[in-house]
């Protein structure tokens, strides 16, 4: 009898947590969608007109989100591109050009960097990059899309390096012996065999990194200049999460402004969902091609 009771207790607790998670997800989705309803119904398409500006507190408020959406995509896209180049290069470097012991240490080190909080990246970006930009590129202050992309790219590096390194190991186990037996040099093995073999994995990692980059708040907020205008490489810009963080504290609850912020986040979530779905489909196709 006592057994039955203990079993039931245990099962209930576990089911409770499972329900709790589903409840949490639904609660968040519901809340976000309901809060944004006002914006979608009363302002609607005006938020997405390409020449609408972001002027929520002026006499004739405009709630143009396009510049900010563009900024978000631009910064994240640039960051992922940079992170891919350096990340894959580093993963190849660690796998092929460094003795195993040192590679292991370096890899743990790089993965440790993934635990550095976002604020600190922003802080370093501010005191190093932005300061340098201000001096050298003739900008008024150094905050820019370029600075944000570099900072974000560095933040994404550990993720890209570790996922690529895993894929490389896998591909190595499959192909290295055969390639060496055929007399391939190390570079030929890497460029002609390993890289093509992991290309699908790389794309999947890229999508995931892109998704992460889209949602990054603090670091980007500190170095991008927080100007809701269309992004130029050396100019200031704004991203959706940074906009939210910046403005949410000073808005009245129930106002249109707040609702538009929620709508902006709905757009962000939609973009994230599309990214995830793309990545998932590519991953599926990669698996299918292998069988």
């Amino acid at each position: 009898m006592r057994r039955k009771f203990c079993n039931l207790m245990g099962k209930s607790i576990i089911l409770f947590t499972a329900f709790g998670v589903v409840f949490l997800m639904f609660l968040m989705l519901f809340h976000i969608l309901s809060e944004s309803l006002l914006a979608f119904t009363e302002i609607g398409i005006h938020m997405f007109l390409p020449d609408a500006q972001w002027r929520p507190v002026s006499e004739n408020p405009q709630y143009g989100l396009m510049p900010v959406i563009a900024g978000t995509l631009y910064v994240s896209g640039l960051a992922v591109s940079a992170a891919l180049v350096f990340g894959i290069g580093c993963a190849v470097f660690l796998s092929f050009y460094v003795p195993k012991q040192i590679a292991k240490v370096l890899l743990s080190f790089i993965e440790l960097a993934a635990g550095i909080p976002s604020v600190i990246f922003g802080f370093i970006g501010l005191t190093v990059l932005v300061k340098w930009f201000a001096g050298h590129f003739g900008m008024a202050a150094g905050q820019s899309v370029l600075a944000a992309s570099i900072v974000l790219g560095i933040m994404l590096l550990p993720f890209v390096v570790s996922t690529c390194q895993e894929s490389i190991q896998h591909a190595r186990n499959t192909y290295e012996l055969a390639a060496l037996a055929l007399g391939f040099s190390r570079e030929m093995l890497i460029v002609r065999i390993i890289l093509p073999a992991i290309s699908k994995g790389i794309v999947a990692s890229a999508m995931m990194a892109f998704g992460r980059g889209l949602g990054e708040t603090m670091a980007v907020m500190m170095v991008i200049g927080n100007s809701p205008i269309y992004p130029k490489l050396l100019g200031r810009a704004q991203t959706l999460p940074a906009l939210t963080a910046l403005e949410m504290g000073s808005i009245e609850y129930g106002s249109r402004h707040l609702s538009v912020l929620y709508a902006a986040n709905v757009i962000l979530l939609v973009i994230l969902l599309l990214t995830m779905v793309c990545g998932h489909l590519l991953h599926r196709r990669a698996l299918q091609n292998e069988t």
Binding site: I14, H31, I116, E187
Partner: protein, 283 residues
């Protein structure tokens, strides 16, 4: 000759990329420690912030304590929920629609940007439910962030170690709950605690969810859950953003990074020793 040159060039490119990446990573750590070391003293660590504006003098102890409270509370809530969820996904109900819902929820939550947790907590908990800006409110927001973090890692741990044990145990007529309590959770305990500790480190470093839900620039160490608190990364952000004190900002960054690094290193050391112990067991 030409081919050899091409190969050498390719090799050089890879090496340069790799060295640059490793160098940048190293730089991150060294820079903060180098710039912050002068500010660090016992009084910096143990005193309250002072000066005009506040934060330009004195110490950061309340922020350190507040961060630990935040991290601990949210890791407790988020970690337990995440582990429970992982247990469900690993061992209960292999088919079924509810299971897919749970899986999708976890994946969904893991993709939501941290600021959204803060925004929802702000409008839902503080405005709609009337909670005060407090440690509790911020902890709930951060805990929600930690749930997918721990759930995904915990599921990996449980699947690796627990699957075979569960099948064998069920075939002996034992219940899943008995097996979990006596066999699987004890075996995985060290790794699960490690995952929760990493979740705590993740939560401690988060600023976006606590911006308007409980963190403030100056307060004493909260004695009740309903009081606001100070947080290290928030303090750092405020010092920098408002231009209060760059010097103290470096010191704050130093302390934050050192603390989190300690947690990570302790976890790595523990898992290294657990691996060794397991190898000895089989000899």
């Amino acid at each position: 000759m030409k081919r050899k040159l091409k190969h050498m060039l390719a090799g050089l490119v890879f090496c340069l990329l790799g060295i640059f990446t490793a160098g940048v990573t190293l730089f991150l750590f060294l820079y903060v420690f180098y710039k912050g070391k002068d500010v660090i003293s016992l009084s910096f660590l143990l005193e309250e912030p002072a000066g005009v504006p506040v934060g330009t003098d004195g110490g950061i102890f309340p922020a350190l304590a507040g961060s630990v409270y935040l991290g601990g509370l949210s890791a407790l809530m988020g970690g337990l929920m995440g582990i429970g969820c992982a247990v469900y996904l690993s061992f209960y109900s292999p088919n079924g629609r509810f299971r897919s819902m749970v899986r999708v929820s976890i994946q969904g939550l893991s993709g939501i940007p941290s600021i959204l947790f803060g925004l929802v907590a702000y409008t839902f908990l503080i405005y709609q439910l009337g909670m005060p800006r407090s440690l509790l409110c911020a902890s709930v927001a951060v805990a929600a962030m930690i749930v997918p973090f721990t759930a995904i890692r915990a599921k990996k741990i449980l699947d690796e170690k627990g699957r075979e044990y569960m099948s064998n145990s069920i075939s002996l007529g034992l219940s899943r709950e008995y097996t979990l309590g006596r066999l699987i959770l004890p075996v995985c305990l060290a790794e699960l605690i490690e995952t929760t500790a990493l979740g705590m480190a993740y939560g401690m470093g988060a600023v976006a969810p606590i911006l308007y839900t409980g963190a403030v620039m100056q307060s004493k160490i909260p004695e009740k859950l309903t009081e606001p608190f100070m947080s290290l990364p928030y303090h750092l952000y405020m010092l920098v953003n408002n231009g209060f004190s760059l010097e103290y900002a470096y010191g704050t960054a130093f302390v934050l990074m050192a603390f989190l690094l300690c947690i990570h290193l302790i976890c790595k050391v523990i898992s290294y020793f657990m691996d060794k112990k397991n190898c000895n067991r089989y000899s």
